[in-house]
């Protein structure tokens, strides 16, 4: 059975921007986020993030599944694909258009 690989995401409190966990904090682009190859590493990252929510920089951290496709990391579920890029019906908005709410 293929191993589940995951990433950690949240939203920035002030702006709502989608964030991805990086070793040194949070980043805006999925491609820049850290990928957890085993469940223990993912759970540890989530626990650390949950503890950091008291700093009031971000809200609602959670893990989601990703996979490798053509050499890139992409989310497994449509929901996370859309969160990472922006609405499919307005390609001029969201990260797909280089826009952040920050």
């Amino acid at each position: 059975m293929a191993q589940t690989i995951q990433m950690l995401t949240a939203n920035r409190l002030k702006t709502g921007d989608v964030l991805y966990r990086h070793v040194s904090g949070w980043v805006l682009m999925l491609a820049d986020g850290e990928v957890y190859l085993d469940a223990a590493a993912a759970d540890a990252a989530l626990a650390a993030a949950q503890a950091e929510t008291v700093q009031n920089d971000f809200v609602a951290p959670y893990l989601f599944e990703v996979r490798e496709s053509a050499g890139r990391i992409v989310p497994v579920k449509e929901r996370e694909i859309i969160r990472a890029a922006g609405p499919t019906v307005h390609p001029h908005t969201g990260k797909q258009a280089g826009q952040y709410n920050a």
Binding site: L13, V18, E78, P87, N101
Partner: protein, 559 residues
């Protein structure tokens, strides 16, 4: 910025109390935002506070839902909504199936400023979320329709005042939606509301209110049932309060899926529900404080006075070419005043996002409102806009301007006039996208002759079981579901949100994103082959049932 041509329509104006409480709420929420940002409030403490002010955290950003009471907007308000879209969002807003407007790209730090801007034009976002009585909706043709018994807006406004910050009903078992209609033709989906009030005339010719309860969509759809056949006007608030008390006391707070009044109504049975409501009603009447004096009804009604219509106008429709004639055929409704019309602006040109309008489009529609429709527009639950009072002779000029905006599609009530919730493109609750499916179907049926040949056919699409896209009430309903992270779409046939309300029947297993538009097309072809003279799609379905439609829908998929 003041527009020199701005017209003040006949609609409710905030009194000192309204203005004070809306401004106080802005100040209160600004303080709550500040305390959240400093950490004095945790997210768990803050979330119910932001929801009570219409602020959600969605997929990409915060979403602010602004109330448009009973769908009525002045040009000044629409210009302010355009300004907010331009200044704080990405230059567009989304009109919803609850006659509200939503902004999808809001920053938490901007919300106090936005609410202040709204308060300046007598608007707010209070009670557009949370387990409370939500924004009251009404027939979009109120005060204009030729078939109207009475204008429903005065009662809708009275209900708005009664239900706003009502201390007893701010923490109900679940959300509560009320709609008001004033015509035997139901354009407000009354029978799908938690509580609905229909203005009726009794045998003596007196007007009063028929009250219905227990309608709803979502996971467990129900059609509302009559609980008060003829409630006297001065009793209406006491009667509605009695319904709310029975629900508030017995609604299932232990199970979110069984918490709506529709579940309670059907668990008790309508007779028992009526008995309990009547006991409460009698108790409230004894106290007498909720009686609605005629003078107060008259005072509120005066705000909605009939505009000074020109007299002596011709009822004839101008001749302005075939495109205009097509638009008149579908988008113009009979007005009560001779020589006037009601014009529906469908925000549904095939390929567009249903219900979206840019700041520029909103500003130009505001200009049309001032120039041609006494400064007023209505938002419809079908995600369109309506100019309620237009002289027939002005229609060609309006049509020409709408063409420039790409809002002149002659498709009101036709197969491309599709309702779609925001779906997985924006919504945190959604399982599947709705808008791209609406776009694909609309483009497939773009040919106008084909649309007119099909006639009235209402497609309604929801991206999850919560049914914001009213899929249960669609002649053809589509429900998006998630199967292991992949979007699938169930078809439902035979629903209606009108006075002949019915709940659509689920056809069977879902279709893929790429299959669903083709399946809809094959269903429509069955209708065209099977229909009798004068039958709408809905009539044919009700006559022949699911089988032929189902066989055709799955034909190519199975091949």
């Amino acid at each position: 910025m003041l527009n020199p041509r701005q017209v003040e329509p006949n609609m409710y104006r905030y009194d000192e109390f309204d203005s004070k409480f809306v401004h106080e709420r802005v100040t209160q929420f600004a303080g709550q935002v500040e305390r959240r940002l400093t950490g004095e409030l945790t997210e768990d403490q803050f979330k119910p506070l932001r929801l009570m002010n219409g602020l959600y955290l969605q997929l990409h950003a915060y979403m602010l839902r602004v109330a448009v009471p009973y769908g009525t907007l002045s040009s000044k308000q629409l210009r302010r909504l355009a300004h907010i879209a331009r200044t704080y969002d990405k230059n567009f807003g989304h009109f919803t199936t609850r006659q509200n407007i939503q902004y999808n790209w809001i920053k938490l730090v901007d919300v106090p400023a936005i609410l202040r801007e709204l308060a300046e034009v007598e608007m707010h976002a209070i009670q557009t979320s949370g387990n409370c009585i939500r924004n009251v909706t009404a027939d979009q043709f109120a005060g204009a329709a030729a078939d109207e018994i009475e204008d429903p807006r005065p009662l809708a406004e009275i209900i708005r005042q009664w239900s706003s910050l009502h201390p007893e009903f701010l923490f109900l078992p679940r959300k509560f939606k009320i709609a008001v209609g004033g015509s035997p033709n139901d354009r407000a989906a009354l029978l799908y509301h938690d509580m609905a009030v229909e203005i009726v005339r009794n045998k003596e010719g007196r007007t009063g209110y028929k009250v219905l309860v227990g309608g709803g969509m979502g996971r467990t759809p129900y059609i509302a049932q009559v609980i008060g056949e003829f409630v006297e006007k001065d009793d209406i608030l006491a009667f509605m309060e009695a319904v709310m008390r029975v629900y508030n006391e017995q609604g299932r707070r232990d199970n979110i899926y069984k918490a709506r009044i529709k579940i309670l109504t059907n668990a008790l049975g309508i007779e028992e529900m009526r008995r309990q409501v009547n006991i409460e009603f009698a108790e409230i009447k004894k106290v007498g404080t909720l009686q609605l004096p005629q003078a107060e009804l008259d005072r509120i009604t005066a705000y909605f006075a009939v505009p000074a219509f020109e007299t002596g106008l011709s009822d004839a429709m101008p001749d302005a070419g075939p495109d205009f004639a097509n638009w008149v055929r579908t988008n113009i409704t009979a007005h009560k005043a001779p020589g006037y019309a009601i014009a529906t602006i469908t925000l549904k040109t095939p390929g567009q996002v249903p219900g979206d309008a840019t700041s520029e489009q909103m500003d130009i529609i505001a200009d049309l409102m001032d120039e041609f429709s006494v400064g007023e527009v209505r938002v419809t639950h079908e995600q369109n806009l309506v100019l309620p009072h237009v002289r027939n002779k002005d229609l060609p000029a309006i049509f020409a301007k709408l063409k420039e905006l790409d809002f002149a599609s002659p498709n009101a009530g036709l197969i491309t006039d599709i309702i779609a919730c925001p779906g997985l493109d924006y919504c945190d609750l959604a399982n599947a996208r709705s808008i791209p499916i609406a776009q694909k179907i609309a483009l497939k049926f773009e040919d106008l002759d084909r649309q007119h040949k099909i006639g009235e056919l209402k497609i309604k699409i929801s991206g999850c079981i919560n049914a914001c896209g009213h899929h249960h009430a669609g002649h053809i309903g589509i429900l998006g579901v998630d199967k292991k992270g992949v979007e699938f779409y169930q078809l439902l046939l035979g629903g209606s949100g009108a006075e002949d309300a019915s709940i659509g029947d689920i056809m069977g297993p879902g279709f893929t994103e790429h299959e669903i538009a083709g399946a809809v097309e094959r269903v429509v072809e069955v209708y065209l082959a099977q229909r009798n003279d004068g039958e709408r799609f809905l009539d044919t379905y009700r006559r022949i049932g699911m089988e032929k439609f189902k066989a055709a829908a799955y034909e190519t998929v199975a091949a």
